[in-house]
């Protein structure tokens, strides 16, 4: 009885989160397409910015959560921490892919090129590969527990490397002056744009939280199912052992003669 009540309660909370997410996102999208003014230089293409930036934020947030989960797993070997890490990695990979795509789409009309080797995009591209590595390591490890351990290693090393990668790519680019690209507005963002951006950020963050909750739940069920399958292997076999009597044991003291 108690459990059902608390399950209901958490279900309601999650649903509430979902509704809130939809509400804020809808507001955000409205603001992005209608409320915010067009950019002087870039025109309407600039509106992708309101999706691109939150996606980038989520990609890195997801990586940070992967780091936390990986450290937690390393420390406690807790399945929960591993679920946290791998769920966030899936979402992180999704968002990273979207950042790269929206970045290209945004850039094309502005740069006349699909890509620029500037620091943020480049780092995100590398992050994309790190996520791929995370999943490959799990897939190729052979068994689930080992996969979790190896993935944790990658989660820790990868997360710590990301800021270093960013820094080194930034230095690399500043030595090769490039046209200033992807003007995300900087300090001169007009209030209306800033407001839109913040609403979108909030909306997407809520989306991440909601998806994480659902994803970790699915993973919990998956883990439980796998456990159950394996435990079933340990059940005593249905056919009884053939217990036919064997020749009675003779107290054999001459056994040594056999040597």
């Amino acid at each position: 009885m108690m459990q059902r009540n608390s399950t209901n309660r958490s279900d309601m909370l999650v649903m509430g989160l979902g509704l809130l997410t939809v509400a804020v996102l809808t507001l955000g999208i409205f603001m992005a397409f209608v409320y915010a003014p067009s950019d002087l230089a870039q025109g309407n293409a600039q509106r992708i910015f309101y999706v691109h930036v939150p996606m980038a934020w989520l990609a890195y947030l997801a990586m940070a959560v992967v780091f936390v989960g990986s450290v937690g797993y390393m420390w406690k070997r807790s399945a929960r921490m591993d679920r946290l890490a791998r769920s966030s990695a899936e979402l992180g990979f999704l968002f990273t892919t979207l950042v790269l795509i929206t970045g290209s789409l945004w850039g094309r009309p502005i740069w006349n090129a699909w890509w620029q080797w500037e620091a943020r995009l480049t780092t995100t591209l590398i992050l994309w590969f790190i996520f791929i590595g995370y999943f490959m390591v799990r897939a190729y490890a052979g068994d689930r527990e080992r996969g979790a351990r190896y993935a944790a290693v990658l989660g820790i090393i990868g997360a710590i490397d990301v800021p270093i990668i960013h820094q080194s790519v930034t230095w690399w680019r500043t030595l090769h002056p490039e046209p200033i690209v992807l003007d995300t507005g900087g300090p001169n963002l007009p209030d209306s744009m800033l407001a839109t951006l913040l609403v979108c950020l909030a909306g997407f963050t809520l989306l991440y939280a909601y998806l994480m909750v659902q994803k970790t739940r699915i993973e919990t069920v998956r883990d439980a199912l796998a456990e159950r399958e394996l435990t079933a292997l340990f059940a005593p076999e249905s056919e009884t052992l053939d217990r036919r009597p064997v020749a009675p044991v003779s107290r054999n003291v001459s056994g040594a003669a056999e040597d």
């Binding site: 044991v249 107290r251 056994g255 040594a256």
Partner: protein, 241 residues
């Protein structure tokens, strides 16, 4: 040293590899001064059990206590008291016998490594080949080198997986002597083999596994050789224990 309680205590251990269950509800105690012959047909789980005792495999379920602590969590310390001979040689073919043993003696944290290495080589009868590379040794002599490696640090428990493979008569003498002195010292030995008579000659206790279960677990004097053969062959509990 005897009578201090079991050196190794295995309780209701299950070990699974993927969907194959290698050990099923295995319980077993090892006290000091025992030489256990671990027997069974191929695939019965002998190697898995031995590897679990050696902390090389972690039980899927159940516990293994070694020297009073949980074997897996304290495995670094537990390993210091184990001498293991496995199917594959642990020695490096490119190094000489002496270099191999000096290396392992250092890794075991021993003092006077050269002296210990020389003594171990002497013990297994490899003193003449001390400066030959391990790759030049025949199968039997290589096995002796592996034995030397296992006894180098005078461990409390020897875990030997088919140690008699490739050994000639002289080699088996060496092995028997190692087992006897281990037992006399108050240590213990668990060895697996398919050479039934040889094992029964050395053992103080016989454990037979069948399909991952313990099918027989008796002091040597209390079982007939036929009962042991039967137990191995059928993988079934012998009646009238």
């Amino acid at each position: 040293m005897t009578g201090d309680g079991p050196l190794i205590q295995v309780e209701h251990v299950y070990k699974r590899f993927g969907t194959k269950v290698a050990l099923r509800d295995v319980s077993f105690s090892l006290v000091s001064g025992e030489a256990v012959a671990l027997l069974g047909a191929n695939g019965a789980g002998k190697t898995t059990l031995l590897r679990s005792l050696a902390t090389l495999a972690r039980p899927t379920r159940g516990t293994i206590q070694a020297f009073g602590v949980d074997a897996w969590s304290a495995r670094a310390a537990v390993r210091a008291q184990l001498g293991v001979v496995a199917h594959q040689p642990y020695v490096y073919p490119e190094l000489t016998c002496t270099e191999n043993l000096v290396f392992f003696a250092t890794m075991f944290g021993l003092e006077e490594v050269r002296v210990r290495a020389a003594e171990a080589l002497e013990h297994v009868g490899l003193a003449r080949r001390a400066d030959d590379r391990a790759s030049t040794l025949s199968r039997g002599l290589l096995q002796r080198l592996n034995l030397a490696r296992a006894i180098l640090h005078e461990p409390a428990v020897l875990l030997l997986d088919e140690p008699d493979t490739g050994l000639d008569a002289a080699g088996r003498e060496v092995l028997s002597e190692i087992v006897h002195s281990q037992v006399t010292r108050g240590g213990s030995v668990v060895l697996t083999t398919h050479a039934l008579e040889y094992a029964l000659g050395l053992a103080t206790r016989v454990v037979v596994l069948g399909e991952g279960r313990v099918v027989l677990d008796e002091p040597r004097e209390l079982v007939s050789d036929e009962a042991v053969s039967l137990a191995i062959g059928s993988g079934v509990v012998a009646a009238g224990r």
